[in-house]
């Protein structure tokens, strides 16, 4: 009965190479249009610009792999950032404690998502639509609408840079890459990681196979919440302030990155490294189009076309390989 040769299975880091090709094509295009594009400094800049969405997208990937979706990731991140900065700058709480509190808040949101989704069996779309509003309002209330300035240097340490072959690289970008490595390893090489795929692709089967789907899902949402806390720290480090209006576009941007990276919104299928590629595609386009002098309305237009085109291409090439 085994009529299918196993060309499908080799250690594939990406669920498909379509997104990677799109990224390379975009880079080639912009390199041809602007000789500033391919400089070390510029590429490091792109990395730095995507680090916040990149880390959000790791959490978002976990959630989407379980066939969920998180509309609130950016709003929760903003709340985490405001908690960290108000504690550290306004109340003089020691930096490690402030960071822990901020991450605690974002993780709590994740746990709440998990509980509502598993215990009451509410759709993730709704739960996170609700927490999107809640987190936004809490952020405004907690910050009284004010940007938090004067944060201690230690809280912004991930925004510092080091030299690598003449290019300045920000520590936060390295942290993002490390987190991608860890997530990739965990999803691929551990039982829990495979269970995440199983729960997303066939929840009932996973349950019947003895996987504690409830605990697993709560764990996934909690971990995603923790990652939003890390993103909050990166966002604070990047801008040097606690910004109550941070993250508003990141909610959809993180989802866009995951989807551009080839992860299926129906769950079970995809790779977290794809999300990194997806985040980079968006970052490269924004950077490259600005270098070319394209105004932001056209950039939005291009992003829209890009999202559809990238996913369509991915879909078509997948079908071709069947």
């Amino acid at each position: 009965m085994l009529r299918r040769p196993l060309g499908v299975a080799p250690a594939r880091a990406l669920s498909s190479i379509g997104p990677l090709l799109a990224l390379l094509a975009a880079c080639a295009f912009f390199a041809a249009r602007s000789d500033r594009f391919l400089t070390g400094g510029n590429l490091s800049l792109v990395l730095q610009q995507v680090m916040v969405v990149g880390v959000l997208a790791i959490g978002q990937t976990l959630v989407i792999l379980t066939a969920g979706v998180d509309l609130a990731c950016g709003a929760i991140m903003a709340l985490g950032g405001i908690v960290m900065t108000t504690l550290a700058a306004r109340l003089g709480v020691p930096v490690p404690l402030a960071i822990a509190a901020g991450m605690g808040v974002t993780t709590l949101f994740g746990v709440a998502h998990g509980l509502l989704i598993t215990s009451l069996r509410l759709p993730p779309f709704i739960v996170t639509l609700g927490t999107l509003n809640i987190a936004f309002a809490l952020t405004q209330l907690h910050s009284r609408g004010q940007t938090v300035t004067g944060i201690p240097a230690a809280l912004g340490a991930l925004g510092d840079t080091f030299q690598l072959g003449g290019t300045r690289i920000v520590y936060g970008a390295v942290l993002m890459l490390v987190l991608y490595g860890v997530a990739w390893f965990g999803l691929r090489e551990t039982a829990a990681g495979r269970h995440v795929h199983a729960v997303g692709g066939a929840p009932e089967a996973a349950r019947l196979a003895g996987i504690h789907t409830r605990a697993l899902l709560i764990g996934v949402y909690a971990l995603a919440g923790l990652l939003y806390g890390v993103a909050a720290l990166l966002s604070v480090a990047r801008t040097g302030v606690g910004d109550p209006n941070a993250g508003q576009t990141d909610n959809l941007d993180a989802i866009t990155a995951v989807v551009l990276g080839g992860t299926s919104l129906f769950g079970g299928r995809g790779s977290v490294l794809g999300s990194l590629v997806g985040a980079l595609i968006v970052g490269v386009f924004r950077n490259g189009l600005t270098l070319m002098g394209v105004s932001s309305v056209y950039q939005i237009l291009v992003t829209g076309v890009l999202v559809i085109l990238a996913v369509a291409t991915d879909q078509l090439t997948r079908e071709g390989r069947r």
């Binding site: 510029n42 609408g145 940007t147 300035t149 910004d243 576009t249 924004r286």
Partner: protein, 318 residues
């Protein structure tokens, strides 16, 4: 420049607005483009995705500097949040000029070409108080969005001009007063302004003064007042002085508006930028690009321009 490859001799100036979707900023960009063309400079323009999108402005700034811009003109979305990014750019030798609204602190940029939004609020506050002629005030404020400095400055300036206790120009907290019976955020949007006014009239039908943060929200408020049959006896005041807004003043929809001059800001900014690239001369300090009250019916004790003058100086589609 035909193809986008930059020529190294040409000065490159970056203009970053809050959004690209507001006629005020559209006009500012057009003015900057014209000024840049006249002086042989190349203009890059960018914006945040929505008002308050600080991260988007930071990204735009970084990308423009990567594209070779030596000068950044910026209307900041968040007066405080942008400061570290500006400091970094200035350390790298970039000239940064704030247009339209100040950073906090003001000294974070090399120079500021702006309207005083607090003063704009004060002017319309004074006008409304005089126009009310001693009747007890019942005020509705249709505000911008939570925590926005420009929204707070206009709102608080209005209260101060009206003779009520108000926070000073540095605050981003909206002042309250007994006379203010209804406050709603409209995000400067016409539809939301209309809904807000409708609901405020339900809350207190006796409202007789409406402060609006900009002219689209004033237009929405007017529509709600007409529906309630109250358009004749309620004083609506606003800020911006766009051509449509001034026409609304002429039509009696808005009693008075405080006019600003985005074209002038943009021209001054581009001029200073080109000078800097050519001669290294840096502008400094605050240049008030002016604000003037436009009213169809002047009131005594408050200086104002007529509608025709306002129309000559306005921005937007004439």
């Amino acid at each position: 420049a035909g193809c986008a490859r930059e020529q190294s001799s040409q000065p490159i100036i970056g203009l970053i607005t809050k959004t690209e979707t507001n006629p005020f900023f559209v006009k500012m960009r057009e003015g900057a483009e014209a000024a840049a063309k006249a002086r042989g400079a190349r203009l890059l323009s960018g914006a945040g995705r929505n008002d308050g999108d600080n991260a988007g402005q930071v990204t735009a700034m970084e990308n423009m500097i990567a594209a070779g811009a030596r000068v950044i003109l910026i209307t900041v979305s968040d007066a405080k949040a942008i400061v570290p990014a500006i400091a970094k750019a200035r350390r790298d030798g970039i000239l940064v000029i704030a247009l339209d609204s100040p950073t906090d602190p003001v000294t974070a940029v090399d120079a500021l070409f702006a309207t005083d939004n607090y003063r704009a609020g004060t002017l319309i506050g004074q006008y409304a108080r005089a126009a009310l002629a001693g009747k007890p005030a019942r005020i509705a404020t249709l505000d911008l969005l939570p925590g926005h400095p420009v929204g707070a400055q206009r709102h608080n300036g209005f209260l101060a001009g009206f003779g009520l206790a108000a926070p000073d120009a540095g605050s981003t907290t909206l002042g309250t007063a007994q006379e203010v019976v209804c406050s709603v955020d409209t995000y400067g949007d016409q539809t939301r302004g209309q809904t807000a006014m409708e609901n405020c009239l339900q809350r207190d039908p006796g409202i007789n003064v409406v402060y609006t943060v900009n002219e689209p929200s004033a237009a929405g408020a007017h529509k709600a007042l007409v529906a309630a049959g109250r358009e004749k006896d309620v004083i609506v005041v606003s800020v911006d002085g766009g051509c449509q807004g001034v026409r609304d003043v002429g039509a009696g929809h808005i009693a008075a508006t405080a006019q600003q001059y985005p074209l002038r800001m943009a021209e001054l900014g581009v001029e200073a930028g080109v000078d800097f690239v050519k001669s290294g001369k840096k502008p400094s300090g605050y240049t008030d690009t002016g604000v003037a009250l436009v009213a169809a019916r002047p009131v005594s004790g408050v200086e104002s321009l007529g509608v025709d003058v306002g129309l000559q100086r306005c921005f937007g589609d004439r």
